[in-house]
Symmetry: C2
Subunit: 346 residues, 2 copies
C-alpha cells in the first residue's frame, strides 16, 4: 500500500529539508497549551490508561456536542475504521477513496465492493441502490480523499435513506472535517440515527499524526456492540492527555479554519494560471490535480529535487498517472511550491 | 473481557491512592533518560512517523541481538498478536492464558481451539500432537499469564519440533521476558527458524503501559508477509522516541531484574506463612494464588477497602473463583500487602 508522508525514503535527494506536500497536516502545528499538558502526562505513562477512557470520551463529547456514551475512541481514525469493518459482512466504497478503506477490510477477510464515482467525483445513487444489502458497511470520506470534496447535505440525507432502507450502515470518515466550510455537522444531522458512525481525528486538523488519536460518534446502543470487539488500552496516555486541551482552544480552531480557506483559495487561484494543470474544486486542505501534460513520476522527480514531496495519485483506484494531490500549507511554502510548479515547462 | 489495572472503577472505595496489585508493571518506573527524550519528541508529533519505523527497528534489533529486517513493531504487544492471528487459519492456545489470545482471534472471525494445561499448569504434548494442524497458530505465554511459569528450554524445543512437523506456527508472547531468570533467550534459540514469532514489549518491564510499544522477532521472509497486512503508522511518535533510550540502559535493566527476583522471593516466602493461601512457583513479577479458604470476591472486597486492588482470576478460562493473582512490587508496598493479607482471618 502506497501512502503519502514518507519523506524518510527521500532523504538525500535534496540538499535541505523536504517540504511535505504529500500529507495533509495543518502547518500551524497543535494548540499552544498542548506542550505543557504532555509534559505533565509523562507521569501517567507508568499506569494503564482507563480501559473505558471515560475522561477522554467526556472531553470529546463536549467538543462534538453529543453524550459521552455516544463516543468511541481509537489509535487514530484507522483503528476505528478497522474495528468497524469487523462488525459487518461486506464493505462498500466509492472510488477514488483512501486506499485503506479497501485494503484493511480485505486483510480482515471481508468482501469489498468498489463502486465508481461519476466524472465529477460524485456518488452515483443508482449503483448504490443496486448494490447495497443488509449488513453492508458503506464507507465514505467526507470530505473525500483524494478528491477533496464534501458530500452536500441533501445528497448525504438522501443516501442515508438508502442505507436505512437496505438495513445497511454508513461510516463517514470525517478526518478532515474542521478544514471544511461550515455547511452542516454530520453529528448534529444524525444525532438521533442508529445506522451511522462519524469518525474524526486529531491527526490532520490538530496537526498530531504522531499522537494517534481518533474518535467517533455512534448511537449509544451501537456502542454497546462496538466495545465488545475493541482491543484493550489501544489509545496511548499522551493521546488521552491531549484530549484535555486541544478541543478547548476555540481561537486556534477558528484561526486554522480561516487560514486554510485563505490558502486554499490562494493556491487554487495560482494553480489556475499554470497551463499543464487542471485543479479540482476542494473543500479541505488538499487539492486534486489533473495533469494536462506529463505524468506523476516526472512531476514528482522534478519537484523532489526542488525540495517538495507531492502525492502521486495513481495508487488510488479509479485514478491514473495523470493525477497528483497537493496539500494546502502556509503562505511561504505555498508560494515557493507555486514558483517551483511555474518553473516546470512541459 | 475482564482485565486488571482498572483502578478507575474503584475510586472512592478507599480513602487514599489504591495500590494496584492487579496489573504487573515494574514499580521502579522507566529508565531515567526517557523523560528528556520524550520532551524532545514533542517536536516530532506534527509529522507522520517513518511508515517503515527504520530507526526504531534498528534500536530494537540491537537490543534483541538480531537484524532489523527481523523486527516488526506494533502499538503494544496486543496489536502484533492481533495482526499475527490474521495470517493463520486457526488459533490454538493452552488455558489458563491471557484472555485476549482467545477473545481477539474470535473477534477477527478465527476459530480458537483451547487445550487444557495439566494440574501443574504445564503443556500437554499429547493433546498438542493430536490437535495441531497445518496453518494453525499456537500462542503461548512465556512466561505464561496468569500462571507465572516460563516454558523450560527442552520443553520449548520439543514443542517447536511438533509445530514444524505439523507445518503450524508458534507465537511466543514474552511480554514479561526480562523479569525471568536468564536460562535461555528464545530469539537466540530460534534465530534460524522460520515458524516462530517472539513478541516482547516495553509495557511491563520498562514500566510503560501508557506508551504502547510492542515489538517482535520474526524470520526475514515471514516479515515480508507480515508487513503486507499491517495498519500504517500504528506506533506513535513517543513510542518511537522511547526506543532511542530505554534499551540502552544496561544498569537499569540489571537492577530491575535483581530487585524483581528479590521481591518475588520475599513475597513467596511471606505468602507461604498464610494458612489460607497456596502460592504457585513464579518466574516473573506476578504470583498465582490458590485460595484454600474463601473466594476471590471476598478477598478482593476486603483488600480494596484496605487500599489494594488484586486480580480476581476466575475470568481466566481454566481457573475458578478460588484463584487470585498478585503483582510483585516494591518492598514497602509488598510489606503492606502482606500485612493486609495476614490481617484477613478466614
Amino acid at each position: 500500500m502506497f501512502h503519502g508522508g514518507d519523506t524518510f525514503s527521500y532523504k538525500g535527494k535534496f540538499n535541505g529539508k523536504i517540504i511535505d506536500y504529500s500529507s495533509n497536516i495543518n502547518p500551524m502545528g497543535p494548540p499552544k497549551a498542548l506542550k505543557a499538558e504532555l509534559l505533565k502526562a509523562y507521569e501517567e505513562l507508568t499506569s494503564y490508561p482507563d480501559i473505558q477512557y471515560r475522561e477522554l470520551r467526556h472531553n470529546i463529547a463536549k467538543y462534538l456536542k453529543c453524550d459521552y456514551r455516544e463516543v468511541i475512541v481509537g489509535s487514530g481514525a484507522m483503528e476505528l475504521i478497522s474495528n468497524m469493518c469487523l462488525l459487518f459482512n461486506r464493505i462498500v466504497v466509492f472510488v477514488p477513496c483512501f486506499g485503506e478503506y479497501i485494503k484493511r477490510p480485505k486483510v480482515l477477510g471481508k468482501e469489498v465492493i468498489t463502486l465508481k464515482m461519476d466524472e465529477n467525483f460524485k456518488i452515483t445513487f443508482d449503483s448504490l441502490k443496486n448494490t447495497l444489502r443488509k449488513d453492508d458497511l458503506l464507507i465514505l470520506g467526507n470530505p473525500n480523499n483524494p478528491t477533496g470534496l464534501r458530500i452536500e447535505k441533501e445528497v448525504l440525507l438522501k443516501l442515508y435513506e438508502i442505507v436505512k432502507e437496505k438495513d445497511a450502515f454508513l461510516l463517514l470518515d470525517e478526518a478532515f472535517y474542521e478544514f471544511c466550510p461550515e455547511d452542516y455537522d454530520s453529528i448534529e444531522l444524525f444525532r438521533e440515527e442508529e445506522k451511522v458512525c462519524v469518525v474524526r481525528a486529531a491527526t490532520k486538523f490538530f496537526a498530531l499524526p504522531g499522537i494517534r488519536l481518533g474518535y467517533a460518534f455512534v448511537n449509544e446502543t451501537f456502542r454497546e456492540k462496538y466495545i465488545k470487539i475493541e482491543s484493550p488500552w489501544s489509545v496511548n496516555s499522551y493521546a488521552n492527555a491531549a484530549g484535555r486541551v486541544i478541543f478547548k482552544d476555540k481561537a486556534y480552531i477558528e484561526k486554522v479554519k480561516r487560514e486554510t480557506e485563505k490558502e486554499r483559495n490562494f493556491m487554487l487561484n495560482k494553480l489556475s494560471n499554470i497551463n499543464w494543470i487542471r485543479s479540482f474544486e476542494s473543500h479541505t486542505n488538499f487539492i486534486l490535480i489533473k495533469l494536462l501534460k506529463g505524468e506523476e513520476d516526472e512531476i514528482f522527480d522534478k519537484l523532489i529535487y526542488k525540495g517538495f514531496m507531492i502525492r502521486k495519485a495513481s495508487s488510488f483506484e479509479g485514478l491514473d498517472k495523470t493525477y497528483i494531490r497537493l496539500a494546502v500549507k502556509d503562505r511561504e511554502s505555498n508560494e515557493a511550491l507555486i514558483r517551483a510548479l511555474e518553473e516546470i515547462k512541459l
